[in-house]
Symmetry: C2
Subunit: 336 residues, 2 copies
DNA sequence: CTGTTAGCGCCTTCAT
DNA sequence: ATGAAGGCGCTAACAG
């Protein structure tokens, strides 16, 4: 049976309050009694019951992280950053993996002050009402990888995906490519996955600045999965005037493009250049040129923002923009 | 400001106890008053404060999962199973990612009744003293993917890795291979990662049963990483009498073997057959023949065992053995 | 400086 | 069937 603060008090011959003061590093304790209390704590191998503490403090000392059902490699890496940032602290991390069915119940549940002190939402399409319910309940939250300008008023950690998409496309243009395809996620909805859309925007901007025409048949949008990406790429490669390079909105999708190339008997990078996005583990193995995001770091930053907001609910919202980096490997080469 | 049970009681004109009874589906409430209480709950959008509830119940209603620092794809998939199994329940899942430095502190921390109701430990090398401290503290725990016969007295979900290693090797033998290499993790320690060791055992058993000699230079053990696996495979392939097939203890390591083959100018599967283990996402893409484990399911089963033990601490320990399945693709073919 | 007391929100006896 | 009271372990405000 675990000991309580009362056992410690008895053993050290002090009142409960004193033990509590020692536990909370209060100044108003003489060195002598502090010593006695610490000794008793040690002898009993006592550690305070977090539930009692939390109830009394009126805080849950718990942070929830919500990640999408499709736990993509990128999301896992972000989660690692979050966990790591929380590790030394007194906060617990509870993890929720959203499924389409549980989605609403889960968000409703978390939007209650008595559940958690704060929520970190990763890459998850949010509706306006979701935001509202968090705000109405006064539950601090931070969004990671959801880049929506209409959310200027909430704390966000966003990747500069426009820049990333641009870097990738510009690089291909530098290599002499003029017919550059794009394969990415659907562009729907205000609160859809925003990262793919922004990468697409970057792609378009780079084309435009280089004076290249955006050919409709060279940008396709479908489910974020290798198989779909492969189909889209195959269609492109079958065109009378196929692209000489394809930029995929994620490494996963780049894999699909590579598959399509293989299937079409094209060699990479000689016949087709491919660039991905994320720099997941496998990218290095496949020698895939890609755009690296600071995934782990984005999780750490998210926690930092969240804890600051927990401390000061009235502070100005922050948009933390995480830069991207083009990792040049061998899946993209000079044009024909 | 969230409401309390007291607000509900006032609004429904009943005592606190009655509200509590309604919340806990106690029988001793008349239909009429239950109705009134439920209505008040709805009107106030009340939901009970979990902290109060937990403190009062003397339970934390929280399960901790501990996963190793190297969050391999397999561990992530297990975690998904765990989360999913806990989703509908009243339990929270807190996730701990072990690092070598935090390891001891983390385990000590979790081995306290007042912290969590139960702990799920995944693929983590445990020492006898770790087991002891959990048992001494009376904290229920279940091990997943730690196959150590000396742990017969604790609940475990283990994969039949001996069988898996055997299936893979037997398949290679059937294909006519006589010189079959093995690349896996180190074999150290009683509580080391056990899965690789068992796969190795299966490999040896299959060789033996086929009357094939175990050639010392054809089995190598090193860090669980692609790079190390590649080095080991390269050495093997440089032998005067190199293997015609290599069984790797994980898909990650199989990637290293594929790299080594490519480097050596060998074509897979014509010049070299390769089999991996885990059937992670990427395996299908690479057309890698591999041994599939029921990763997601192993997490679900772990939770099931754990909750049963929480309910009945005295029940007999269970060893749940999860079968394996050989997934035949195109990285292994007939011997030269 | 230190002991005592009154909650935090809920559950559970014990009377009625 | 229901209301009142005591307690879960802790913190914080109040006396002294």
């Amino acid at each position: 049976m675990p000991h309580t603060i009362r056992d410690v008090a008895r053993r050290a011959n002090v009142g409960l309050g004193t033990v509590s003061r020692v536990l909370n590093n209060s100044q108003n304790v003489s060195d002598a009694t502090r010593e006695r209390v610490l000794q008793a704590i040690q002898e009993l191998d006592f550690s305070p019951n977090p539930l009692g503490r939390r109830l009394s403090l009126g805080k849950t000392l718990t942070i929830a992280a919500v990640v999408p059902f499709f736990t993509r490699p990128a999301a896992v890496e972000r989660l690692r950053g979050i966990e790591s940032a929380l590790a030394g602290s007194e906060y617990d991390l509870i993890v929720n993996i959203e499924t389409p069915e549980r989605r609403d119940a889960c968000l409703r549940d978390l939007a209650r002050r008595e559940r958690v002190d704060g929520v970190l939402i990763i890459s998850l399409p949010l509706r306006g009402e979701d935001i509202d319910s968090f705000q109405a309940a006064g539950v601090p939250f931070v969004l990671i990888d959801i880049n929506d300008p209409s959310l200027k008023a909430v704390d966000c950690v966003v990747v500069d995906d426009v820049q990333g998409g641009r870097k990738a496309t510009e690089y291909l243009i530098e290599l002499g490519h003029r017919h550059i395809g794009y394969v990415g996620d659907p562009l729907d909805g205000r609160f859809g996955f925003t990262s793919s859309r922004d990468r697409y925007l970057g792609y378009r901007m780079a084309l435009e600045e280089a004076g290249l025409r955006l050919r409709d048949e060279l940008h396709k949008h479908g489910q974020h999965a290798r198989y779909e990406a492969r189909l889209m790429a195959s269609e492109m490669l079958a065109l009378p005037k196929p692209p000489t390079a394809i930029f995929a909105a994620s490494d996963t999708q780049a894999l699909g493009v590579l598959e399509a190339a293989r299937e079409a008997g094209l060699e990479v990078p000689n016949d087709l250049s491919v660039i991905g996005y994320d720099d997941i583990e496998i990218a290095r193995y496949l020698d895939l040129t890609t755009v690296r995001q600071l995934l782990f770091e984005s999780g750490e930053i998210g926690i930092q923002l969240l804890l600051e907001r927990v401390k000061d609910p009235l502070r100005e919202p922050t948009w933390e923009i995480v830069p991207t980096e083009l990792i040049i490997r061998n899946s993209a080469g000079p044009a024909g």
